[in-house]
């Protein structure tokens, strides 16, 4: 009824190529951005801002980066945690070793270092694919874990191996309060999501998708596998690296390699799979599912008035969470993003969807 596109004619290539061709979508996104930038900072409690929304944003960004690699280019990676760690530790080193280094510059440079490492570990993808590649990227995980635990230089000779940052500011504006941290991350996420969306719509994105769907066919029609695969690794690791730097700098404040362990890699891969492979929107859905649901399940017994032991609540959380993952994947193997677009299709045909 409200979600129908008849009467909206596109009379130019520009209009035909916009990200959201339907007017309702454009309005919805604008409203969403308005809510995210204005309403949320005004009306949401500090707990939500700090402990839920900020990690959600950062992990969405990381999932977005991984989605480019796995969803768009079809290169399965289990080294996401490693690239996050590289981003975080590199940004830390830029911050402490260079006096007066601007925060944004060190975050982006952290991302660049992750790009280099990402491309390096992406080289095997030229010869191997699928599960074999997943195992090869696992090497990145083990390698960075080892490096950041053992090589003292990376942690600025911190005796405990834990590093921390403080006194963050951008152009003199401190990034300390929950609102500032949230907005800072939000800006990063919005900018990167826009860039990523445009990238996957461009020639390079089409090359990635061609590689994903059938690499031999893609090579035959003149796509260079080396270029396509390594750019996917580069772009993906850059975004993941920036997300890692944000995770360390903005969310945790102090971290150790365990913050970017193999569990984090799995978590992000689940986000991408549950959210929807090859969908920018899906990265956000996946992050929301993985970040919010456990918290919700964890607190649910309390609201319902059951007093159960902490251990039981925690086990229940894991069990229900696992069951829900299985359920969603059976119902919709293409992830939450596909459910979302199905819902939109139905709304367009409403009241008589088929």
């Amino acid at each position: 009824m409200f979600y129908r596109e008849n009467g909206q004619f596109k009379s130019s290539y520009r209009a035909d190529q916009q990200i959201f061709p339907i007017a309702q979508d454009r309005i919805a996104i604008l409203v969403l951005l308005l809510v995210a930038f204005v309403v949320v900072p005004m009306g949401v409690s500090d707990y939500w801002m700090r402990a839920i929304l900020t990690p959600f944003l950062i992990l969405s960004l990381a999932a977005l980066g991984l989605n480019i690699l796995v969803g768009y280019c079809g290169q399965i990676s289990l080294g996401t945690g490693a690239f996050m760690a590289v981003g975080a530790y590199a940004a830390y080193n830029f911050q402490v070793r260079i006096d007066g280094m601007p925060l944004i510059a060190s975050l982006l440079l952290g991302g660049l270092c992750a790009t280099v490492i990402g491309v390096l570990f992406g080289i095997p993808s030229l010869r191997i694919k699928g599960l074999y590649l997943a195992v090869a990227t696992l090497a990145a995980q083990f390698f960075t874990d080892w490096a950041f635990l053992r090589i003292q230089w990376f942690t600025n000779n911190s005796s405990s191996g834990s590093v921390s940052v403080a006194g963050l500011n951008v152009f003199g504006v401190p990034i300390e309060s929950p609102v500032q941290k949230y907005l800072f991350c939000l800006i990063f996420v919005v900018v990167f999501a826009l860039l990523a969306k445009n990238l996957v719509r461009s020639a390079i994105g089409r090359e990635w998708m061609a590689m994903r769907d059938m690499d031999v066919a893609a090579a035959v029609i003149g796509i260079r596998p080396v270029y396509a695969k390594l750019t996917a690794f580069a772009v993906s690791s850059f975004i993941v690296g920036v997300a890692g730097a944000l995770w360390g700098f903005i969310h945790l404040g102090a971290w150790e390699p365990a913050a970017f362990s193999i569990d984090r890699s799995f978590q992000l891969l689940f986000m991408v799979i549950i959210g929807g492979l090859g969908s920018i929107m899906g990265s956000f859905f996946g992050a929301a599912f993985i970040v919010l649901l456990p918290l919700f399940l964890n607190q649910l017994p309390g609201w319902l008035g059951f007093s159960i032991s902490t251990a039981l609540a925690s086990h229940l959380e894991t069990m229900i969470f696992g069951a829900l993952i299985v359920f969603f994947l059976i119902v919709e193997p293409h992830g939450l993003a596909r459910l979302w677009s199905t819902a939109k299709e139905k709304l367009r045909l409403w009241p008589f969807p088929h």
Partner: protein, 443 residues
């Protein structure tokens, strides 16, 4: 209803419920002090985290049963961290806003690091009994951290002293080989600077053997032990790592008598699986174990006999359980101390509790009155010294129970003090903090 529309409905319900995920508002009630309890009852560290958490809860129940803190009732809520830093941070954010929140005990060195930067802005003290940041003993820089009763530096120092004494003098350590088998995390790495300092002074050779967390895979570490045959092995483990290390020692044939654990490697869950094979293994003891102390008897009577106990009754009085009781006692005494200054029978703010923590004066008489005689040494903190005491003993596993307590040792302040000051100054320099003024000590 097709499966797909079912999923759509489920997703819709989930989102609406999700919006209800607002922090459950607890009505501010008069005269209730809130103790947030960060615990890990799941994961690889659960066997050790659970008795600790039970002890803390039972002591709160016991104090409530006997009239609270000068009439102020204690409320509490547990939050499961699983020893993970990000979950710990979430728990902290969730619970810090509760009315009457007193202080946090993060129960993990990693979480302590993350929270150390957050507590000064939130004005909530952090108690890290026997763990955490060694440099935070320096109250001049770490205004909100309280590593009461010992840090990993004092622990390592005492172990070396004990080994030296057993060998017949510190000079006998010269030329000896000591290996540190440690959990490869901030927790395990903390003692390294002190051991290096000691190695320089006492002339022993220190080899560092890391074990990847959580510590179930130690084959290569013990291969190194087998190759280098150190005279002593210091074990810096937690959770499953400890029992695994003992099993590996048995397999390697390394004498357990030459193994010395930190106080987190010296409780029942660490040796239970190995049983008689672990006989002779030594570990530091911050506190006694057993049900003889009066306070444990009182807890049994007031809490467990009334069916309100947390956890199994036969674990009451175990090493880590007793440590939980001590932690909770110290925090409650800190609140009471603050009440002496800011008004008895009132709920204290985080800042007031901080003052109480900084002015703890638990002498032997007070400890006896609280039922802690023989369990621990007196603790008295000050503005400069946030640790209060560095006393510890060494106990030995006889195959069935912990016993054979050594004499009390105190960490050598000539070594510790300059190291603490240097590390605190380095921290202050990195964070661009200035040392507290003398006037700040009064506030």
């Amino acid at each position: 209803m097709t499966l797909k529309s079912l999923a759509l409905t489920a997703a819709l319900v989930a989102t609406t419920l999700g919006t209800a995920l607002a922090p459950s508002l607890v009505q501010a009630q008069a005269k209730e002090q809130f103790f947030p309890l960060l615990v890990y009852r799941t994961g690889p560290y659960a066997p050790n985290g659970t008795p600790w958490a039970n002890g803390k809860q039972d002591y709160i129940k016991y104090v409530n049963a006997t009239g609270g803190m000068n009439g102020v009732k204690i409320t509490y809520e547990e939050c499961e961290t699983g020893y993970a830093t990000d979950k710990g941070v979430e728990c902290y954010e969730r619970l810090k806003g509760r009315p009457g929140v007193a202080l946090f005990d993060p129960q993990a060195t990693g979480i302590t690091f993350a929270l150390t930067d957050k507590v000064p802005t939130d004005k909530i003290p952090l108690i890290t009994l026997g763990y955490g940041l060694s440099a935070s003993q320096d109250g001049g820089v770490f205004k909100w951290n309280f590593p009461l009763m010992g840090s990993y530096w004092t622990a390592a120092d005492i172990l070396i002293q004990h080994i030296g004494k057993k060998e017949g003098g510190m000079d006998k350590l010269k030329g000896k080989k000591i290996a540190l088998v440690y959990h490869d995390s901030p927790f395990g790495k903390e003692p390294i600077p002190l051991l290096q300092e000691r190695a320089k002074q006492n002339g022993f050779e220190l080899s560092l053997i890391p074990v990847t967390a959580p510590g179930v895979e130690q084959k290569s570490a013990w291969l190194q032990v087998r190759q280098s045959r150190p005279d002593f092995v210091l074990l810096w483990g937690w959770g499953v790592m400890n029992s695994t290390a003992l099993k590996e020692a048995v397999a390697t044939g390394y004498p357990r008598e030459k193994m010395y654990g930190v106080w987190w490697a010296g409780a029942e869950p660490d040796v239970k699986d190995v049983g008689a094979n672990a006989k002779g293994y030594n570990a530091l003891a911050l506190n006694t174990s057993g049900t003889q102390p009066k306070v444990i008897q009182d807890i049994l009577k007031q809490v467990h006999d009334k069916g309100q106990g947390t956890g199994p009754k036969d674990e009451v009085g175990s090493v880590l359980y007793t440590r939980g009781v001590i932690i909770q006692m110290l925090t409650i005494e800190a609140v009471k101390r603050a009440q002496e200054r800011f008004g008895k029978g009132k709920v204290m703010t985080g800042e007031q509790v901080r003052w109480g923590m900084e002015n703890l004066a638990l002498d032997q008489k007070k400890l006896d009155a609280l039922g802690f005689s023989g369990v621990m040494r007196p603790v008295s903190t000050s503005c400069q010294d946030h640790m209060g005491s560095t006393w510890a003993r060494v106990h030995t596993w006889d195959g069935a129970k912990w016993g054979g307590m050594s004499d009390w040792y105190e960490a050598d302040s000539q070594i510790i003090k300059p190291m603490v000051k240097a590390a605190a100054d380095k921290y202050a320099g990195e964070k661009k903090l200035t040392r507290r003024e003398a006037a700040d000590c009064q506030s």
